[in-house]
């Protein structure tokens, strides 16, 4: 699985960072998403799915 982030769509709500700070961070400059680990393993796979589900701008997707 690979996490794809579209920073053009990202609105910086921070929902992904709240979901799993080891996978996601936000740019200090403009608040948009930074993927820290785009190939999550184990329990983090479920966290990645949750982040996709709660993202308000559908900026995150998963390549299975």
């Amino acid at each position: 699985m690979k996490i794809i982030a579209d920073t053009g769509k990202c609105v910086g709500a921070g929902q992904c960072v709240l979901t799993e700070p080891s996978l996601f961070d936000q740019s200090e400059e403009d608040g948009t998403v930074i993927v820290l680990d785009d190939q999550p393993q184990g329990d983090l796979v479920e966290k990645a799915r949750e982040a996709v589900h709660v993202c308000p701008s559908q900026a995150l997707s998963l390549q299975e």
């Binding site: 053009g8 609105v11 910086g12 709500a13 921070g14 929902q15 960072v17 709240l18 979901t19 700070p21 961070d25 936000q26 740019s27 200090e28 400059e29 403009d30 608040g31 948009t32 949750e50 589900h53 709660v54 308000p56 701008s57 559908q58």
Partner: protein, 396 residues
């Protein structure tokens, strides 16, 4: 087809949406309503449809447009006083990103120690004051107000002035002339305050915006004053009401309160559930359809207004099992209490931080906290576009 409902609708129970919301969602989930000025608009009530409308470019947030569905009589603001909330793509993204860095999860975490100090001082004041005390006056309003003032660089000493004016803007029955005067008073105040920061911009949000926008060559005082106004108003009226209602919600559901008291790790889950359960900003998420679109099987035409009913969506059983129960362990993070799409609340992580510290500290320091009046006697804001409480008598 049933009769056209009048909108907005009033809550008859502080813990439930207007009963017509349920009827609409179950029987005709996308339906027409009549707005106060006589125009009709669509309401969208299902969770999935609300998320669709709020995250689709065919629905515009331009509330300056003459066809935009207004809940209170609007008036056109000068173009240089527009803020991100009225903008659409591609204009909206850059405007939001200019200030977004101030509201990241990391930045909010850095505020934690100072917010904790403020909350402790306010709880000291509550404990030192009379019994019963008013939670709204001593805690709910001052905490977010002090925090947003410090962030922006607005003197807290002026809070009486801007709280009086923003309260008028939130009440539905404020006469248009008075509404306009309130907007202009706060705008002028903010403009003067910003003018005073221009020579030597201080290290606060407004000062940093001056520096940043000047570097980009886009600094305009009226636009920054409008942004400052928006952040100031949004920064205290909303969280204040969630502090009060959340406290009532937990006190009225002792089994749920016990979960939080036993495990502070559950407080964030409790906050998401309380946000869903009360959905205090409900019909503010209005949009104007600018290109024909089908939503939930209903064709909505360009030029028609749409109200995305967050409270109906947040009680949709296809998204939340047993939706009328307060259940902090349900996993409610997909609620739309902060809206959805590109305009989703900018300050949501500030609100979460404030609510987390308030609830953790309040119930830890005053474990015997209880309401000093029956719930039915509490003055709920039935006449306002942001739901909440005018006063909340508590004792311990």
């Amino acid at each position: 087809m049933t009769a056209v409902h009048e909108f907005p609708m009033t809550r008859t129970c502080p813990f439930a949406p207007p009963s017509a919301y349920t009827e609409i969602r179950e029987e005709e989930p996308v339906t027409r309503v009549r707005l106060p000025e006589g125009k009709q608009a669509w309401v969208v009530s299902r969770h999935e449809d609300v998320r669709t409308v709020l995250n689709d470019r065919r629905f515009s947030a331009d509330r300056q447009h003459p066809d935009f569905p207004q809940l209170v009589p609007g008036f056109r603001r000068p173009d240089d006083e527009r803020t991100m909330i009225t903008m659409d793509a591609p204009e909206h993204g850059p405007a939001r990103r200019a200030v977004l860095g101030e509201f990241t999860v990391r930045r909010m975490e850095a505020l934690r120690p100072r917010i904790q100090e403020i909350v402790d001082e306010r709880i000291d004041a509550l404990l030192a004051g009379p019994k019963p005390g008013d939670l709204v006056e001593t805690l709910s309003l001052p905490v977010p107000s002090l925090v947003i003032c410090e962030m922006l660089g607005v003197p807290y000493a002026d809070h009486g002035f801007f709280q009086t004016h923003t309260a008028k803007l939130i009440k539905r029955d404020t006469p248009p002339a008075e509404r306009r005067a309130a907007v202009e008073a706060v705008r002028d105040y903010m403009s003067d305050l910003i003018a005073g920061k221009e020579d030597n911009p201080p290290d606060d949000l407004l000062g940093r915006q001056i520096v940043k926008l000047r570097e980009e060559g886009t600094y305009r005082r009226p636009a920054l004053a409008a942004l400052g106004f928006l952040l100031l108003a949004a920064g205290h009226e909303t969280t204040a009401n969630m502090i009060s209602l959340g406290t009532v919600g937990l006190l009225e559901n002792p089994d749920q309160l016990a979960i939080v008291k036993n495990d502070p790790g559950k407080t964030l889950d409790a906050i998401e559930e309380l946000l869903r359960y009360f959905t205090i900003v409900d019909a503010a998420t209005a949009r104007l359809c600018v290109e024909d679109a089908e939503v939930g099987g209903q064709l909505i035409r360009a030029g028609e207004g749409v109200l995305a009913l967050g409270y109906a969506a947040n009680r949709d059983e296809s998204a939340f099992e047993n939706p009328d129960a307060l259940d902090i362990e349900r996993g409610a993070r997909h609620h739309v209490a902060f809206g959805f799409g590109p305009h989703q609340c900018l300050g949501q992580n500030l609100a979460r931080m404030e609510l987390q510290i308030v609830f953790d500290t309040l119930f830890r320091r005053i474990p015997g906290l209880r309401l000093a009046a029956p719930v039915d006697d509490l003055p709920f804001k039935d006449d306002a576009n942001i739901y909440g409480l005018y006063r909340l008598p508590v004792t311990w």
